[in-house]
Amino acid sequence: MSEKVKIGFYALTSCYGCQLQFAMMDEILQLLDKVNIECWFMVERDSDEDREVDIAFIEGSVSTEEEVELVKKIREKAKVVIAVGSCAIHGGVQSWGKDKGLSELWKRVYGESHVKFEPKMAEPVEKYIKVDYKLYGCPPEKKDFLYALGTFLVGSWPEDIDYPVCVECRIKGNPCILIEKGEPCLGPLTVAGCDARCPGFNVACIGCRGAVGYDVAWFDSLALEFKKKGLAKEEILERMKIFNAHNPKLEEMVNKIFEEGE
């Protein structure tokens, strides 16, 4: 009998949606004889964050000092670290309020009260440790999990997605929400893989899979298009920041459009 692959699922600060998506897959039953779950608090009472694993799935943003220590520990104990979902990869929607600053946010919610744990402004996991692979989405699609886990189980490595939602929208034959309806669709800069789910429902993409990587996120050209439709710079930034608040290129690229004109 070949050795089982040891996996761990770890949660930082999040809505637990990525784990729920993983737990809800019927296919998980077929994987059971191939993996050992060493740590997954959402389903396994006998979980232990100190055990060694082959693959660590991390969900959630780093939002407390304790979570900084936890991600460092996971990195030490894991051969492969996968950041799962918008929170782990991009800091999550909780980063949308980043401009307001932690103390301002804290004051608004908790007033002058003190809690014995130490909060932080939400940050991506990559800020603290090396991440080997990313599963985009809020939450990722089931096929994202199956593809990644499947390739790892056969000893291979999954490919990253480097093209935007627009590609899938064209393949599906959806009408273009941005051009035909004039709505601020973020499909042109958002990582594909959702099969253009929201545009398929006539709803503009809000960018939940985050901006395409490799420094090709077209914040600038999309901002130009939005500007032509009458959106102010702040409106454009706000929308793009819902899932990209930590992207170092975003402000620079949008600013460029407004400084140089068309």
């Binding site: 809505c15 990525c18 009472r45 979980s47 939002s63 014995k116």
Partner: protein
Amino acid sequence: MYIPITVDHIARVEGKGGIEIVTSDEGVKEVKLNIIEGPRFFEAITIGKKLDEALAIYPRVCSFCSAAHKLTALEAAEKAVGFTPRPEIQDLRDLLYIGDMIESHALHLYLLVLPDYLGYSNPLAMIDKYKKEIEYAMALKNIGSKTMDYLGSRAIHQENAILGGFGKLPTKRQFEELKRELKEVLPMAEYTVELFAKLEQYKEVKDEEMVHMAVKPRNDVYGIYGDYIKVSDGFEFPVEDYKEYVVEKVVEHSFAKHSLYKDKPFMVGAISRIVNNADLLYGKAKELYSQYRDLLRYDNCFANNFAQALELVYFVERAIDIIDDILAKWPIKERDEVELKDGFGVSITEAPRGLLVYALEVKNGKVNYADIITPTAMNLAIMERHVRLMAEKHWQDDPEKLKLLAEMTVRAYDPCISCSVHVVKL
């Protein structure tokens, strides 16, 4: 010499929380539910944001009940701007919400609660001996998910529910398919009631002072939406007055606040809905209620598990009825235009685990004020009291046994710890 009994990370709940029980020679000294999930400041981060964008992120408070968050936020927003959805749109929203109820109850009962009773540390290990139960859990979960996929775009974080209605409605054929599959799972929901009727109720948490809060359902239809809140002490109040009766306070050991009614803890959830509104049940759920009403104890939080099982039956039947109504009215226009006037709106609905409050003020098309109170934040204070009652009875037992019983008490509430952590009062 007494070492505190601690569960650092309660398993099989959503979110990160722990239990701390301190004992001395005389008995239990202190019981704390530590909520260590980081804060996410949802209300604060959405202030000043465009209404439609804020509405897109509110479901992210919670994955188990994302539809509940989306629909409650939508109703508060529409009340704020002075828009009332057409009855067919409201029915379709009910159906989406019911998808969430079915999925959430099925997952909670079979995957999070049942392993404790059957002696397993996780639900997946049950598959060899309890194949039928796992299959039923998956089938019930799947029909809940499919309902949300069709009406909400997906089972987690639905984007298809928007101001004024839906981006796109399912086809007639998809509704027919849903109905057929709902009928197929109805016997499984009934089996769930029979299964949970056999489980122990842990009488040691009997709480004479238990107060239950639930919505007084709109149009006398047992379920989700209402304009008044009904308390089991006989009091009723309009949802807009919630701040007078649900008072929140910050406690040091938790990123989530505690809620009190008349200075005392209270309970919300499936059992609270049944305690307050059982007379509105109908069909198979009503029959099963009559048969098992002794198990639906108002003074024991463990009855919440059984109440969820009963609700599974009710909501499956109700979903079938809604689809029949929808098909009779077919075709239906998916959406009306909504004008974003300035205003303030409160919506309180029944999320799977109990009352969910959204209060939103809209100004110039943006969120000007937001207050969200989640069921788990409301239940935390009473949850802590019931863990204490459990501990007082079992503090001299084997610590491992006490740990499990304390966890089971918490799990009976189906707590959504992620949800609870962001609470606000401006």
